[in-house]
């Protein structure tokens, strides 16, 4: 969600090493990062700070798991990759290595992916270096887009007109 940016970033891990000179913190061991609806689960997350505070996070895992709720839609975008970079300023998420993104029923796979959390646009690319290696399998981008089944709205059966039992008009002899 857009509001995630204004939320604090919470992290949990087994240990952290904070380098005060370079303003970096390396969290290691079952690391969980939560910012609003956004969740990141990894083996290791490197956080860099700038003068104001939290700036960027680079997560490494086997794989790293990413999830964030879509704005104004009760649906989540989920992502998996060997490495995920998160830039809170530019609202961009970069997935690298066996990248996979799921939005509802749709799924996209590629070598690298970028996902703009504001515009919800994601872009997938193959691994250009794989083309040079004859033995390596072709690196392709694959998408699975499930047809949105239109839910046929059954003709709403009109409730039967209430039959009022009115007495038949009696024929009066002139």
């Amino acid at each position: 969600e857009l509001a995630d940016r204004t939320k604090p970033v919470n992290l949990e891990a087994d240990s952290v090493t904070v380098d005060d000179i370079h303003k970096t913190s390396v969290y290691v061991g079952s690391v969980v990062l939560i910012q609003g609806t956004m969740l990141l689960r990894a083996d290791r997350i490197e956080v860099s700070e700038n003068g104001e505070g939290f700036n960027k996070a680079v997560a490494y895992g086997n794989p790293v798991y990413f999830r964030q709720k879509r704005d104004k839609v009760d649906e989540y975008v989920e992502g998996y990759a060997s490495r995920i970079d998160m830039d809170s300023k530019s609202n961009m998420v970069y997935l690298t290595g066996n990248a996979r993104l799921k939005k509802g029923e749709d799924e996209l796979r590629g070598h690298t992916m970028t996902y703009n959390t504001t515009s919800e646009v994601f872009e997938a690319r193959n691994d250009p270096t794989a083309a040079k290696d004859p033995n390596a399998p072709a690196s392709r981008v694959r998408a699975v887009i499930r047809p949105k089944v239109k839910t046929e709205t059954p003709a709403v059966a009109q409730p039967p007109l209430p039959l009022r039992s009115t007495p038949a008009p009696t024929l009066v002899k002139p």
Partner: protein, 190 residues
């Protein structure tokens, strides 16, 4: 026969004197009597409003240790402190200021243990501002400029808060390492 008592009398005197000598030697050598013996843990000097400073070879101040009350113990060369306050100076890396309810200095001042309401403020004089650390127990190794604890510790900075079950801070490399269930919270950028 009647000179026998004359013969025994001096022997008796000698025996009494010998007994007294042995008793005296026993009393003098028994540990209880030797108040300055090695295994007696008593303060050999006590100082009120204690303050000591350490400089390096160039005469620059490295650290200063104050305390309201200090007691030094001869047998193990340790010192107990009341309300210790250690200030480590470093022009490049910034200062570190540690206070506590009690303190304990090991032999030759190799280690200073801070015990009870320990507050450490580390100020690197940069945009991040000071970092405040609170715990119940902290070991400082002044010469190595390292502090560490294995107790619950809270770290609060300008835009960050952390808790953990253990910590080691190296003031020279400015590396802070937290272990044992680390939780961190970065406040949002305004």
């Amino acid at each position: 026969m009647n000179n026998r008592p004359l013969y025994w009398f001096p022997l008796g005197i000698l025996a009494v004197i010998a007994g007294l000598t042995f008793w005296l030697q026993f009393v003098v050598q028994s540990p209880r009597a030797n108040i300055f013996s090695k295994d007696r843990h008593i303060a050999d000097y006590i100082i009120e409003q204690f303050s000591v400073s350490r400089t390096n070879l160039a005469g620059q101040l490295i650290y200063t240790l104050h305390a309201d009350h200090a007691e030094h113990f001869l047998d193990d060369d340790t010192t107990t402190l009341l309300k210790p306050h250690l200030i480590a100076h470093d022009d490049h890396q910034g200062s570190a200021d540690v206070r506590a309810k009690q303190g304990f200095v090991t032999a030759k001042g190799k280690e200073v243990d801070f015990i009870g309401n320990v507050v450490l403020v580390r100020d690197a004089h940069d945009e991040q501002g000071p970092l405040t650390l609170t715990t119940e127990y902290l070991v400082a190794i002044p010469d190595a400029r390292v502090v560490r604890t294995n107790k619950l510790v809270h770290v609060v900075g300008k835009s960050i808060q952390m808790t953990a079950g253990g910590l080691e801070l190296d003031n020279q490399t400015r590396i802070l390492r937290l272990t044992n269930k680390v939780k961190a919270r970065y406040e949002p950028i305004k």
